[in-house]
Symmetry: C2
Subunit: 123 residues, 2 copies
């Protein structure tokens, strides 16, 4: 995966959202609207509310990278309502795990950079 | 100061550099080339090397906000060499201190957001 996960400064929003989407899909929060609503509120208290298009772009990135695919299915317990579910592809779990490893390293780097700024400028 | 210090996600590079410039000027690293070279190498080990134009844009922002001004002076100990020094304006120290207070809050918010992502996705 050759995409840029950082701007050279801090992690990009897109990479951050993809990380969360992978974890949510691992944990079976599988359908689009649910993923979107979860992410929209997850960081509210920390002043960050990802916009819908950003979340969908992150989902599409994961599809383009062959990590997940979407399938329209009837919503459980309903007769007519169709929703878009997301599943890992055959090789998706392995790719996702490699991506998460990269991101863990990137998050740690960013935390160190910001902690350094606090130390250098305030103590 | 009504500028955006964050993208809504994480702190902007410009705000981050302005914070360092203020602290460096407080600590008397006053002239342009020196400021630039210090910042260029300060975060190298953490994978971040701000580009020269970004550093100069941050300096210009601080001038436009009336926090600092520049003055060409002879470099100490030389006869001919002129360098650009930066000083706080009369009201600059107070403005700078208000800006730093904002930035402290923003850095803390970003650290919490990234630490949350580590916790949510890796443990």
């Amino acid at each position: 995966m050759s995409e840029q996960i950082s701007s050279g400064f801090l992690i990009k929003q897109r990479a951050f959202l993809k990380l969360y989407l992978i974890t949510l899909i691992e944990n079976k929060y599988l359908y689009g609207l649910k993923l979107r609503d979860l992410l929209k509120d997850e960081f509210k208290e920390l002043g960050f509310q990802p916009k819908h298009p950003e979340i969908y772009k992150a989902l599409h990135d994961l599809m383009e990278q062959g990590i997940i695919y979407q399938r329209k299915e009837k919503k459980q317990g309903t007769v007519y309502q169709e929703v878009v579910y997301y599943h890992f592809t055959d090789e998706g779990r392995e790719k996702a795990s490699a991506y998460k490893k990269l991101l863990k390293h990137e998050l740690d780097r960013c935390i160190h950079l910001l902690q350094k700024a606090v130390k250098d400028n305030f103590y």
